[in-house]
């Protein structure tokens, strides 16, 4: 029986590139999107380790109720820089800059990004900015939290605060440059025959992410500039002593920072869609529903920001408005979750490390989503706002969500990026250590918060000692859990089993060239002989067993004639029944 992957590979023999890349490039100002992608991934991972060290220091302080490990000022600096590093130097640049850069051109069959030099510039802003942020520990780290609310941020150490503002401005600039690049690349550089509705879902996710970054980041930049005026030359935009209003800052800040959480999770959603489908050997369930729900999240994500401000003096009708929009945004998110479950259902799961992290992601992200709906409810949020319940919630979405997804991405695309396989046994050890450590570290925080432990404190009531100790043990386990990954990745990069072009037998175009792909990726334009998710195509006639489905009606069909499917290019489609309709993106 011929398999979908064989069909797609056969159709793309001409496109297949042959000369693998040169690793020395990785240390230069290269404009190759793959080099830049790897530069992003490695750099941000180093920052992840730094952020992890800061987290471990935070948890060490919190192992006991007294403030006995670092001074209170340093403690505030630790969690402020920890959060800033994790968000702005790890998740955002790793997901968009790293995977986005590496994968988008390959997935749409392009030779590079639309603006290669801009791309390199966006990357090279990051390492010096990261170092600058770290150097703030020498002059007194910023200590007003990653939210940096005035008036506190105006009175707690000018130097550190100014370094923080500059870092955010620079990293924001980098993120805007990258966003412009992705939007243009995705709209203009798709291979002929690939319409928007035939792109891999990761491309849809990056499109939504880039729009969010483009719309929201300038507002943050504005807020940062005003804040620096208040800080340096004594204006009073946000300073009540001069008639300013601190609540205005909160609006500006969250107008960016809520969309920012979607900037951190949407690309991961895209990656999970790829991973789940390939490793379950089944088409993604409801391609169009997933694609459009990313766009819905992008739109709704811009009008929920004040749910971070339910207790800071938001008028009642606004609280209700933001409560309802926040509740509604869980609907498109739910669509994705159920679609992934339906994709897994009845598949042939290979239970590789990539899939394990993907399934771990679904499990943990659902918990974060549920606690998110709870905090959207105003009366309950009034109780838990600014407590450890929030710390638990945000780590379930950012760590259980984004970080698990990124790990899944590393295991899934490592063979393409390096040309070698990672060790599966160590991958599984890594997964279980991370999964257990994570739940130990963060599950108890829900209870702590509801019982009365507020966040951002260096000392706490002794009645919370036991649960906090559990959290700290979990955090140490998490710290240890990165070791198998680092060793596995380094060792496999040098010595791993050669991967071949398409070890997972996937259908998206990045797998249709050598691993690692050559400069310019493809010899000639690749083509969509099958759709990006046409697994099981070899046995096309098979009646699918799905409730409510009718094989012939496109609206009701669950099989290949479903309207929800991403179709191949009708000009070159392998299956005769896919031919003859309109071909997109060809002139």
């Amino acid at each position: 029986m011929t398999q979908a992957a064989q069909i797609q590979e056969k159709g793309n023999q001409l496109a297949h590139g042959n000369k693998p890349g040169n690793w020395k490039e990785y240390f230069t100002f290269s404009t190759d999107h793959k080099v830049i992608g790897i530069q992003y991934l490695v750099t941000t991972f180093v920052f992840y380790l730094i952020g992890g060290v800061l987290a471990t220091l935070v948890r060490t302080e919190l192992a006991t109720p007294e403030s006995d490990f670092v001074s209170r000022e340093v403690y505030n600096g630790l969690f402020t820089v920890h959060a800033t590093v994790m968000i702005f130097l790890w998740i955002v640049p790793a997901a968009t800059g790293g995977f986005g850069n590496y994968l988008i051109p390959l997935m749409i069959g392009a030779r590079d990004m639309a603006f290669p030099r801009l791309n390199a510039l966006a990357f090279w802003i990051i390492p010096p900015t990261g170092l600058m942020l770290m150097s703030s520990f020498l002059v007194g780290a910023p200590g007003a939290g990653w939210t940096s609310y005035p008036p506190l941020s105006l009175v707690s150490g000018k130097a550190g605060e100014m370094i923080w503002i500059l870092s955010i401005l620079l990293l924001g600039t980098s993120s805007i440059l990258a966003a412009v690049n992705f939007i243009v690349t995705i709209f203009r550089m798709r291979v002929p025959g690939m319409g928007l509705n035939q792109m891999p879902l990761f491309c849809w996710a990056m499109l939504a992410t880039s729009f969010l970054a483009l719309i929201a980041t300038p507002v943050l930049a504005g807020a940062m500039i005003l804040l620096s005026f208040d800080l340096l030359i004594g204006t009073a935009f946000f300073n009540p002593t001069g008639g300013g209003d601190p609540v205005v800052y909160q609006h500006l800040f969250w107008f960016y920072s809520h969309p920012a959480v979607y900037i951190m999770i949407l690309p991961i959603f895209g990656m999970i869609s790829e991973i789940v489908s390939v490793h379950a050997r089944k088409p993604i369930f409801g391609y169009k529903a997933i694609a459009y729900s990313s766009i819905a999240i992008c739109g709704l994500g811009l009008i929920v920001w004040a749910h971070h401000m339910f207790t800071s003096g938001t008028p009642p009708w606004l609280r209700m408005f933001f409560m309802i929009t926040t509740m509604v945004i869980s609907v498109p998110t739910g669509i994705k979750i159920f679609s992934w479950l339906a994709t897994l259902w009845g598949g042939k799961l290979d239970m590789s490390s990539a899939l394990l992290f993907g399934m771990g992601f679904i499990c943990l992200f659902v918990i974060g989503g549920i606690s998110g709906v709870m905090t959207a409810s105003v009366p309950f949020d009034i109780h838990v706002h600014d407590t450890y319940f929030i710390v638990a919630h945000l780590h379930y979405v950012l760590f259980g969500g984004s970080v698990f997804g990124l790990y899944g991405g590393f295991y899934h695309w490592f063979p393409k990026i390096t040309g070698r396989m990672m060790n599966e046994t160590w991958g599984k050890v890594h997964f279980w250590l991370t999964f257990i450590g994570f739940n130990l570290a963060f599950m108890p925080m829900h209870k702590l918060g509801m019982e009365g432990m507020n966040r951002r404190i260096a000392e706490y009531d002794p009645k919370f000692a036991t649960l906090n100790l559990v959290c700290t043990i979990g955090a140490y386990l998490l710290a240890v859990s990165t070791l198998p990954f680092i060793v596995n990745a380094t060792w496999s990069w040098v010595r791993g089993k050669p991967a071949g072009d398409n070890p997972w037998r996937a259908l998206t175009l990045e797998w249709m060239t050598t691993s690692p792909p050559p400069v310019e990726n493809f010899e000639v334009d690749p083509v969509l002989v099958t759709g990006p998710y046409d697994y099981g195509m070899g046995s096309r006639a098979k009646d699918v067993d799905v409730p409510f489905s009718e094989a012939d009606d496109p609206a009701l069909s669950a099989g290949p004639s479903s309207t929800l499917r991403a179709k191949p290019d009708p000009v070159v489609a392998a299956n005769p029944s896919d031919r003859g309709t309109e071909s997109h993106n060809r002139d």
Partner: protein, 369 residues
């Protein structure tokens, strides 16, 4: 589909539902509920937890079942069935969550209204003059005036308004409608619907500053570092902050409100269980944020009255000495709870170059503030 698998699905569904309902009622995650509206917040949480548990069990059940049941055989390299999606199913799992979250929204709205969140701004409460609780309170008025002193704008406004005619003309400027001082009034948790329109039975002013809460009891000269409230009385707290953001949080009341410098806000509740509960600052306010907590003592009216009396005696005794600025700042930082406001403020007054004579002069201005 054969019958046994339908039965197992049904059974699994029933067990999942039972576990969710059981856990929703027996989670033991919240501290005692000590205010009149706390129980309704808890019921809301129970409901959300029930639904949440159900969804979590469903999702993780499917994940575990798939991991076992649909695991690929080692030598099987064929693909799974070509299922591409199904619109009726998509509609189903769009509609069910949509109905659930809309239900939760309506329920939350209802709880929020009983809590007093929708209570319209009652200007008689916030509007200065004779009946404003703040104006009637010498303690906080001193504090307010001290802050005002540092603010030339406010100073000028006050001196201009000394003239009765100007005062009358400017009756309607927006700030004055909303607040006795400059800045705006923040929306807050107000009266529950059955109390709406009726004045609270007790008004207390709370001021947050790095790193303590100060409570003043209008009509008395008492300034205390801990909050005492009588049991079963409808209490209104006027909240503001002197320096940075703080937040007033009593977990047992399920209530929280930020205190924003430059803004006035309030929080209204009825304590229903006698006891001592932590009163925590829940907004990062600096290095000692974690130490910024005190207690709220809920006690029967008689106990409350005698506490207030003892505080009044104590404050009368220490006032003169304190106004002269002889109390060492370190002492004050050590325990604001036992000090009067003058005592507490003395070092600040000293820093600002305000002497006892000036302070005395300030007193008659209270009614104008």
């Amino acid at each position: 589909m054969n019958i046994p698998s339908q039965i197992t699905t049904l059974l699994a569904g029933i067990i999942l539902t039972l576990i969710s309902f059981w856990y929703g009622q027996n989670h033991n995650l919240l501290p005692v509920a000590a205010s009149r509206n706390a129980a309704s917040v808890d019921n809301l949480f129970d409901a959300m937890l029930t639904i949440g548990t159900g969804i979590f069990l469903l999702v993780s059940g499917i994940l575990i079942y798939s991991a076992i049941k649909f695991r690929r055989q080692p030598d099987d390299i064929s693909d799974g069935p070509p299922v591409h999606g199904n619109i009726p199913l998509e509609i189903l799992w769009t509609a069910i969550p949509a109905i659930l979250v809309l239900g939760i929204s309506v329920y939350s709205f209802d709880v929020y209204t009983t809590q007093g969140g929708m209570d319209p701004m009652d200007h008689s409460m916030a509007h200065g003059k004779a009946h404003h609780p703040m104006a009637a309170n010498p303690g906080s008025a001193v504090a307010a005036t001290l802050v005002a002193q540092a603010d030339p704008n406010q100073q000028q406004a006050e001196s201009v308004l000394q003239d009765p005619a100007t005062n009358a003309v400017r009756e309607d400027i927006p700030q004055r409608k909303d607040a006795p001082a400059l800045g705006t009034v923040s929306p807050r948790v107000g009266a529950s619907p059955d109390n709406s329109g009726t004045p609270p039975q007790l008004v207390i002013n709370a001021t947050g500053m790095q790193y303590a809460w100060l409570f003043t009891y209008p009509g008395t000269e008492v300034v205390a570092g801990e909050l005492h409230v009588p049991l079963d009385r409808d209490v209104l707290i006027n909240l503001s902050a002197n320096d940075v953001l703080h937040a007033f949080w009593v977990p047992e009341f399920r209530l929280k409100q930020d205190a924003v410098p430059g803004r006035q806000t309030e929080i209204r509740f009825t304590p229903t269980k006698a006891g001592e509960y932590p009163l925590i600052c829940a907004e990062l306010c600096g290095a000692y944020h974690g130490a910024m907590k005190t207690i709220v003592v809920v006690e029967p009216q008689e106990a409350y009255d005698s506490w207030l009396q003892s505080q009044q005696v104590a404050s009368a005794e220490t006032r003169d000495r304190a106004v002269a600025g002889t109390v060492h700042p370190a002492l004050i930082a050590a325990n604001p709870a036992t000090l009067t406001d003058e005592q507490y403020l003395a070092p600040y007054a000293h820093d600002m170059g305000i002497d006892a004579a000036m302070l005395d002069q300030l007193r008659p201005h209270q009614s104008h503030s």
